[in-house]
């Protein structure tokens, strides 16, 4: 009898737990209740101060209130978003990197907002816009920031060693070798097998289109001649020891940048931010130049990063798609929003009007010696080659890290690593039920 009593007590305890749990939950229930009040939107973003930009919107739009839930960015966030969407808990708006868009679309996370936001097209460069439409008539996100590649170098050390800023990749290789001869302990840059995004950008510059569709089937061309050219180029430099083969974003790499062991860096327009934290002693000593070209006289570049704002299918289900699409468009095209984005969030805006306007007239503090930094950046951005992403970029990227990591360490053959990357990407696509042509 006592035992039965204890059981009843336990059941009652569990009951109260569940009850109080339910009453404390304010997330999902609110959406339905709030139909009469202002529409409440949630926005997952990793950018610091995005909440301050949303505040600008909230003040002007009392009927649509956006709250920013700051997330940790990176590939894990894509997985987290997909999981949340599967469980019906996705936020209304998400920030997503361009290469993640096909993955999100094929997992039915992102909604087509062509009806609400199709007019925004004219505000962006064609290559950028293509990344959010995935080459279709749909619009899956509004471009937020872009990251065209450029070549950063130490002005003072280039002068000291009598080096000329390379304009072609041939000159780049010659410069790397000339530096090694004069100062064997220094390197022009490093080939980092940890950063598939950079390699993808370099391949875009050479004309690669890794994922394309024809009808219902995907075509993967990671080992196409353009990418092979890029791989062989770096393979040669690494094999000869003309450039370093250590990964980026390690303490050792930061130290090498800071003490001038590495005198250059192929990076994107956001490089000043990284240099500020990784190489604080080199302030004012860097300059940006256009990315070296494969054909002399050309002005093509690739991208490393950049992100867009998308509306989720969850927002469509709860009837918030209209409001969410309006916010996404406002965030990335409205002059007031762009100003807040540039000043508060520190992004390099995707909207072309903001790239050349008064918003970015002053150079980043770290590049005080190059007052026309952003004018040059806008010039470079014009030549951004379109990127072609597929639904399993994450698989290709991890295959890159494995295969190229080993090849770079052993100073081995990058061509074989590229074939391995192609193989695992195709196999994964097939395994997941995609048609591969």
């Amino acid at each position: 009898m006592h035992r039965r009593l204890a059981l009843a007590a336990a059941a009652a305890l569990c009951g109260t737990l569940v009850l109080s749990a339910c009453s404390s939950d304010g997330g999902s229930g609110d959406a339905a209740k709030a139909a009469s009040g202002p529409v409440k939107l949630t926005f997952w973003s990793w950018a610091p101060n995005m909440d301050k930009v949303a505040e600008v919107w909230n003040k002007a739009h009392p009927d649509v209130q956006v709250s920013v839930l700051k997330q940790a960015g990176g590939d894990d966030l894509v997985t987290k978003t997909i999981t949340a969407a599967k469980a019906g808990n996705a936020p209304d708006l998400i920030q997503a990197e361009y290469q993640a868009l096909p993955t999100l679309v094929s997992n039915d996370v992102l909604a087509d907002i062509a009806k609400q936001a199709g007019d925004a097209k004219s505000q962006f460069a064609d290559g950028v816009w293509k990344q959010v439409t995935l080459g279709s008539d749909a619009v899956y996100a509004i471009p937020e920031d872009t990251a065209p590649l450029a070549f950063y170098y130490r002005q003072d050390l280039f002068e000291q060693y009598g080096l000329k800023v390379p304009t072609t990749w041939d000159e780049f290789a010659a410069t790397a070798r000339a530096l090694k001869q004069q100062a064997p302990d220094k390197s022009l840059t490093t080939f980092s097998a940890n950063d598939p995004g950079l390699f993808a950008g370099l391949a875009q510059q050479a004309g690669a289109a890794w994922w394309t569709t024809s009808g219902e089937s995907w075509k993967v061309a990671i080992d196409d001649p353009a990418t092979k050219k890029v791989a062989d180029f770096w393979s040669g430099l690494v094999k000869d020891g003309a450039v370093d083969n250590q990964p980026m974003y390690t303490p050792a790499w930061s130290k090498a940048l800071n003490d001038g062991t590495q005198v250059g860096w192929v990076s994107a327009v956001w490089a000043p931010g990284v240099l500020t934290s990784s190489a604080p002693d080199t302030k004012g000593k860097w300059a940006m130049a256009p990315l070296p070209q494969w054909e002399s006289g050309a002005s093509v570049t690739g991208s490393w990063g950049g992100s867009a704002t998308g509306v989720t299918t969850g927002a469509v289900k709860s009837g918030h798609a209209e409001a969410a699409a309006k916010f996404a468009t406002w965030l990335n095209t409205d002059p007031e929003a762009l100003a807040a984005l540039v000043q508060q969030v520190n992004v390099y805006p995707a909207a072309t009007s903001a790239q050349t306007g008064s918003l970015l007239s002053a150079a980043p503090e770290f590049f005080a010696d190059q007052p026309d930094f952003y004018a040059r950046a806008a010039e470079i951005a014009k030549g951004t080659a379109p990127a072609a992403w597929g639904p399993n970029v994450n698989v290709a990227y991890s295959a890159f890290k494995d295969a190229f990591g080993k090849a770079a360490q052993d100073k081995g053959d990058f061509g074989a690593a590229l074939s391995a990357m192609q193989r695992s990407t195709v196999e994964d696509l097939k395994k997941n039920g995609f048609q591969v042509g």
Binding site: K80, P91, W270, A279
Partner: protein
Amino acid sequence: MSTTTAPAPRRTAPALPRKGSAAAPRRTAWTPTLLLLLGAVYCLVPVVWVVTAATKSRQELFTTFTYAPGSGFWDNLAELSSYRGGVYWQWMANSALYAGAGALLSAAVSGVTGYALAKYRFRGRSTVFNVLLAGVLMPPITLAVPQYLLMSKAGLADSYWSVLLPSVLSPYGIYLSRIYAEAAIPDEVVEAARVDGAREWRLFRSVALPMMVPGLVTVFLFQFVAIWNNFLLPYIMLGDDHKFPVTVGLYSLLQQGANEPALYTLVITGALLSVLPLIALFLGMQRYWRVDLLSGAVKS
């Protein structure tokens, strides 16, 4: 975590070594000593790194000698405290809530369950225990996503409960409590209490529970550390950054896109501070372990 073992009574060499006695002079066992020293270095070097790195300013972090202390600790601390309106301390408070309440509830549930499994004979007892044992073998990481899907079915995703509830039931804690109850509570004592007229609840409350305290303290500490350090479960469960525990919060400081300088110094300082409560907890609760060496109700 090496502090989990209770300090063994120290055996010093005889105070007055007698010269020329029959006992052979104590030889230092070099191999074990060396191995242990290596182990200690292996465990302590990262700690030293975190401590010294937390004292370095952004300028010094990658430029000065790795283990040389820097001059920026107080600036780091102030910067961390003011970051986004002091959200770091919110994360710490969240961690304390998740770990404190979760471990307390977990110890209570484990204590009751372990006692019942150890001292009552009922049908299905061994089945229940075997299922729990299987649960011990299951790494909690594999359960995170299913738990998330369950929680969202219940409408609890992205709430404090979504992190608290999954940590309440700890198979390992129940297993430990059962073993402990079996060993520490003699059946004679239970019988004697029954003869004296104690009801079952009072028997548990006043007789069994005090005897199980050292075991429950262990369960509490294990769970506290496990929840405090847990990353994946809160990472999946929570979308609202004001509900993040400190592990997920610090991770979001590292991953905020390339446009911003990475906040290494803040993350390192935050990591150092987040370990301090654990150390304090261990030092504070160590004395409860010793109790069980002294207690004993039955002479055998």
